[in-house]
Amino acid sequence: MTLWDYLQLSFVQNALLVGVLVALCASLLGVTLVLRRFSFIGDGLSHVAFGAMAVAAVVGLTDDMLLVMPVTILCAVLLLAVGSNAKIKGDASVAMISVGALAVGYLLMNLFPPTGKANISGDVCTTLFGGTSILTLKSLEVWLSIVLSVVVVAFFVFFYHKIFAVTFDESFAAATGAKTRLYNLLIAVIIAVVIVLAMKLVGSLLISALVVFPALSAMRVFKSFRGVSICAACISVFCAVAGILIAAANGTPVGSTIVVADIAVFGIFSLIGFLESR
């Protein structure tokens, strides 16, 4: 089969569409997260979501999203919106919440094995590398991704200047009357929603990579916030498309292939940045 034949398949089309949208949302949010020293929040929140899923499975909730989403949003708000005033800050608080949630979730699943799910280590692995594989998406999931992406992109465009002001200098923004608490809250909620949904689709490993790599690559070369934001979005979309096509053609795991594409672009942009600065 040639590449063109692959593109005719509906599951490849779905994977491309969802991959591109998730990559786009993650990279837009990634710029502010990386600059605020919250690069690991994607990883942290997906561990929280895993812990919540374990609890949902143990208590026997049929739709675990009812528990997972609120818990993850709560943790995101605690980390991002309240975190700046808390006693444990930044990376330490992310590490604490993430490792704690992972351990508690795993322990609960061991103590009270949910019926019908004997393979616990298999479950952990799916969480890391993607539950429903991106190549077996249902149409509901595709629509959900589309709606969510429209919301995230609209939020980013309309709040672009506010996100910039709050990221660059939160105390100045607050002192001159910007509603920084509200903006931080909104950013935290959006990030939590994106991470939970993306984790279901592509796994927590990939979501972290999608948050950090495009933003960091763009920062090597571009010198304005606008330039970095646009470039990060383009890199992320490009790498998602390239990764999915290469994976489909060669039978490699999709998530890892996208991450490798992101690493390659980071290398290229670092080189360009280095050559420019000389």
Partner: protein, 236 residues
């Protein structure tokens, strides 16, 4: 009427007071320097005036038509800012954010104001440059231009010359002094540099174990001033 008045303020964190019974006024055209030892609560006082921290007791009042969100602020640099990818123009323009409310984009007036303040700070050639590539003195000019976008009346400066070399420090003091004398902007500045404070300021607020607030000339004769200067280290 006073632009800013603090009435019997007690400040601190988590209910533990650092400073108690502070009362002072800032009038239009004043140049007030806040001096005192490290840890005496200078930055906390400034954050309280800005409404970033709630006072434990007492009140901060603005007057003379000044609103709480019309105070220009020059904070100390944070770690995040040192390698921030943003152009000078983007940063200066963000000074207008406080008046935006929920409006998503800047108006033409906002953009004109940003350009005017870029010219005022003589950083026009740098407008498209990246903030992280600038020298310390240039970065302070950018942040001052941003502060000027937020206010027409009152500037609060938290150690504006920290980490600058002597020549750039002198330029910075001259710039601030010009804003105060020529443009009539009231200045409240935290300073460790007592020599400069005595030279440029009209009023001194000394906080710590002893508190003094009043004109510079009287400070030199006051018990607090004599005590502080007499211990050496800051003597001109």
């Amino acid at each position: 009427m006073a632009l800013l008045s603090c009435q019997d303020l007690s400040l601190g964190y988590e209910g533990k007071p650092i400073l108690e019974h502070i009362s002072f006024e800032v009038n239009p055209g004043d140049y007030l320097c806040i001096v005192g030892e490290n840890g005496s609560g200078k930055s906390t006082l400034m954050k309280t005036i800005l409404g970033l921290i709630h006072p434990l007791k007492g009140k901060v009042l603005t007057g003379d038509g000044l609103r709480q969100n019309e105070i220009g602020y020059l904070p100390q640099q944070t770690v995040v800012q040192r390698d921030f990818p943003a152009s000078v123009y983007e940063i200066v323009l963000s000074g207008c954010q406080g008046r935006q409310g929920l409006r998503p984009f800047y108006s033409k007036e906002d953009k004109e104001l940003a350009w005017m303040n870029i010219q005022r700070m003589e950083i026009e050639p740098l407008a498209r440059r990246c903030y992280r590539e600038l020298s310390g003195g240039q970065q302070q000019r950018v942040l001052l231009a941003r502060a000027l976008c937020a206010t027409r009346k009152l500037l609060l400066l938290d150690e504006p010359v920290a980490g600058l070399d002597p020549r750039v420090t002198a330029e910075m003091y001259q710039l601030i002094s010009d804003l105060n004398r020529r443009d009539g902007i009231t200045v409240v500045m935290i300073s460790h540099d007592l020599e400069a404070a005595l030279r440029y300021a009209t009023h001194i607020l000394h906080i710590g174990a002893r508190i003094y607030c009043g004109p510079v000339e009287d400070y030199l004769r006051s018990e607090t001033g004599v005590h502080y200067l007499g211990r050496g280290g800051y003597r001109p």
